[in-house]
Amino acid sequence: MATASPRAISTTPRHAAVVRITHWLTVLAFLALLITGAEILISHPRFYWGESGNANMRPLFSLPLPTSRPWVNNGFGTAMPDGNGWGRYLHFEAAWVVALTGLVYVLWGVWRGHFKNNLTPERGERSAGALWRVITKSLRGGRAADDEAHSYNALQRATYLVVIFVLFPMVIWTGLAMSPSFTSAVPAAASLLGGRQSARTLHFVITLLLVGFFGVHVAMIALAGFWKRTRAMITGRARTAKEDA
């Protein structure tokens, strides 16, 4: 049984339950996708452009990694263990979690005005100049203002919208474009991207962008106070300025 602190901590609502649950499910699934994606990658760490590409063809670029296949050697050996079996099983299971979670989140967000009210930059901040002011303020290392515990600044809002509506849909699309079964139903999924190998290369590039977002996101939370922000994403409530002081 939870007991209230004798100091009578005053908190205000911060994150809705749907946001918190979908956030943490996505974190879990994203990490599973990242680990299994790297696992699959080392069986062929070479990238191509166009429809097809293989070990007999010149790659667009290749990664300096040891591989898990004796017939693919980028000069760093081929002694890695083969994990593509469980890797692929888990990759697609986690992809279902991300896709279904994302669907629930986006439908809820549209229905409850989450994107309009919380994630669209506010009227006065929809300009490059306003974004630049936020960036320079962050770079100067200014501590997050108190009001930012309860709302997002323009740069955060723009970034979250790009991740939700551009990067995640693109990473799912480029992934499906590699499926011979899916592209039989939707051939344009592959042809619009320039072919199967282009889709695979883009899948990798978008993953790098998502990893970049993940790194910056965690770093910004650490700067603002890791436990304070993480607690708000778990309990849904942010402590007020007075209590923090």
């Binding site: 429809e51 097809s52 070990a55 017939w71 692929r88 099983y89």
Partner: protein, 252 residues
């Protein structure tokens, strides 16, 4: 701390009950319509079932992408094959004249086909991509006879649900559901890029399933069995792949 209100408890309880009922109904429907793959057990079962069911519903009767002749890869790649056995070399010396594909199981007329028998059936060609689960691929022209025609020749019994197929290589066997077995692009392949099918690419006879990844396209095919259940084959997971940790369904 306000605690759980009665309203929240009731709403939550109703939602949970609806969720569990929904899952049970979905499970029943999936089984009734053959949307559960043979390797649906274990922690990866839910994801695998969703993938197989979704793709079965979405892609039924759609053809895999075909390409113009100009897109045929000049440098196709084949995973190195194990050294051929003496029996294989002997057959190769005879021009594979003694190669037989036996088709049995739930069929009216079990038959052993020679390559000449298969050539006498309608021979077609397709320019499709072989895509390996590792990520690489190539486009080639494949020449062969659709598996559906062979199944028609032997007379598949109505209760049949899967077509299991076996390579002469040990522990190399797989299966297709009836929909994919009857798919017009599923070929018993004997030729590639205008010539004979090279041994390195699975000659003299290879299963070609362009709707699925490379590992479903077994090389050195010599036996096909039609069945209503994959439970009696190996560990009952549908193919040798799940026994090695890989998914039975390879459409993605």
């Amino acid at each position: 701390m306000s605690g759980l209100s009665r309203r929240k408890l009731i709403t939550g309880g109703l939602a949970a009950t609806a969720g569990i009922t929904g899952l049970a109904v979905a499970d029943r429907l999936a089984k009734a319509y053959g949307l559960v793959p043979p390797d649906a057990g274990g922690i990866f079962g839910p994801g695998e079932t969703l993938t197989y069911a979704a793709q079965s519903l979405l892609t039924a009767h759609r053809p895999a992408r075909e390409f113009p002749r100009s897109m045929i890869s000049k440098d196709p790649f084949a995973v190195p094959i194990a050294p051929p056995t003496e029996a294989f070399k002997k057959s190769q010396a005879l021009g594979f004249n003694d190669w037989r594909l036996t088709v049995d199981g739930m069929v009216e007329r079990p038959t052993a086909f020679s390559l000449a028998d298969l050539q006498s059936l309608p021979v077609r060609n397709q320019i499709t991509e072989v895509a390996c689960e590792e990520g690489w691929s190539y486009v080639a022209e494949w020449i062969g006879t659709p598996l559906s025609g062979v199944l028609r020749e032997v007379g598949v019994l109505p209760q049949a649900r899967y077509v299991a197929y076996f390579s002469v290589e040990p522990d190399q066997w797989d299966s297709l559901d009836m929909g994919e077995a009857l798919h017009p692009q599923t070929y018993l392949t004997m030729g590639m890029n205008g010539g004979e099918l090279p041994v390195a690419f699975g000659g003299p006879l290879r299963m070609r399933v362009p709707m699925q990844l490379g590992y479903k396209n077994l090389k050195f095919l010599h036996h096909i069995t039609v069945t209503d259940s994959m439970k009696r084959f190996g560990k009952g997971l549908g193919s040798a792949s799940p026994e090695g940790g890989y998914a039975w369904f390879a459409g993605i």
